[in-house]
Subunit: 307 residues, 2 copies
Amino acid sequence: MKPVTPFDSASSSLYFEEAHSADVVNARMAPNADARLRQVMTILVEHLHAAVKEIEPSHEEWLAAIRFLTETGQMCTDWRQEYILLSDILGVSMLVDAINHRRPSGATPNTILGPFYVANSPEYENGANICLDGKGEPLRVAGCVRDIEGRPIANAKLEVWQTNDDGFYDVQQKGIQPDSNLRGVLTSDAEGRYWFRSVKPRHYPIPSDGPVGRLLGAIGRHPNRAAHLHFIVTAPGYDSVITHIFTPDCPYRDADAVFGVKRELIAEFNKIDDPDAAERVGFSAPFWSVSWDFTLAASTQPRRAIP
Amino acid sequence: MKPVTPFDSASSSLYFEEAHSADVVNARMAPNADARLRQVMTILVEHLHAAVKEIEPSHEEWLAAIRFLTETGQMCTDWRQEYILLSDILGVSMLVDAINHRRPSGATPNTILGPFYVANSPEYENGANICLDGKGEPLRVAGCVRDIEGRPIANAKLEVWQTNDDGFYDVQQKGIQPDSNLRGVLTSDAEGRYWFRSVKPRHYPIPSDGPVGRLLGAIGRHPNRAAHLHFIVTAPGYDSVITHIFTPDCPYRDADAVFGVKRELIAEFNKIDDPDAAERVGFSAPFWSVSWDFTLAASTQPRRAIP
């Protein structure tokens, strides 16, 4: 972070000048305003003015930007947050996430929460099937929760949620999918192990019928998220991790609309066509199998927020 | 303006990385997307990511920004444009105006139009009084419209609008002020001269009951515009100019909330306490007098806009 430099009134103009435009604006802030807010606004105004100077927008382009920002706000409702979508498709959400989750090497990387997480999902025993309607290609997921030194973490909570194989979450298909379909909470055993049954997830589009979707269209980008299972793994004394497991064969693996894919989160999904192996895990052959371990870093202090 | 550099796929990652985050996002745009839009988005994403990296926002600060942008959009109605206000108080409107009106030395500087301009205002003969309710301190305005070489421009149209001495435009006080109070269109005579009567304008606040007003409060800034007369001067063959004349004694002269004041637009207002002089211009003493000339540059081509 850059230190706040006090305004040097001798070197700045009181009045607007193109050459020093950001300084003139920033000099107007009261010296006793909140220091963090002054720092944030100073940086934003500097970059905003620098961008405008590089772009040299016409009046009509400026007005188009005003309209886009207005419509993005007006698209928001209690169940639709178009500005978060904009942040997502511009890579800002992933960047803020990365800045706030710089973990020791070896720890499972964090990713963004997204809009489909639901608190207080059903708790399951290991081995349970979280797919409640039997639709889709069966998938077994199993692995271990460990610390950075490789020691198993018992009683870790693993919250998982994912789409069905049509690319919809339960909350998007009330009355079509059973409630809480393809989501649940598992607990690691004494050796840190967890295992459950589900179906292979599918890619799906972010909402694209608003200003953000139109922007994506204008810059030739598709709105699809790469297929994944979404996890939050928590254990006392460790940093919680929000993370994804991505399928390796999704057509959008290398072009996730919100930049959620990290190379180290692409898993190996094996198709097993062995009736005995299938019977041992409670499926009929063929089924998909993925092994995935989570590595948690020891707890760190939360960062401060603007009051 | 910066040239668009083609994406070098060999040097960029497909997947999100904090260090190259803007490049990863910009590389996703289709090569055949509109070249100007690609250029604009490339610059915006670069500066947005650079600002986020300098600020290092917490998750809560990021969410506060999302909420602010959302509320700013939701404050907008057919008669209230909160994003233009935001652009105004951040100096962006003045910057875009400056970029689009780089005039030869000596030409009257442009300023922003603002929300109170009304087309098709009443036409007046020189000498008319545009103050229809007789309230306020009388003001005589007179001067000449010239070209860069100092030659008078006859038949130039001068559209003027201003607040009354309570700081309100007619359109803000329907039923209180007469319609079209303190606005009108004058025409320069054969020697380029114009003259009219009015009242001394007063400073006034921009709308401050929304997110932009709250931001101004948080950074210790007031919402007031410095007192001014607003003009559009047009003549065939010349660039139209939108400009202000600022009073020298306004308490907000050096701290206009939207950075509209330019040093060269602060006029000398003389208080004349001479009954004979007053009678000659149709006032009773004392009255204010300002002399102000406009200098128009020859026409230039309009800039292109994003389609």
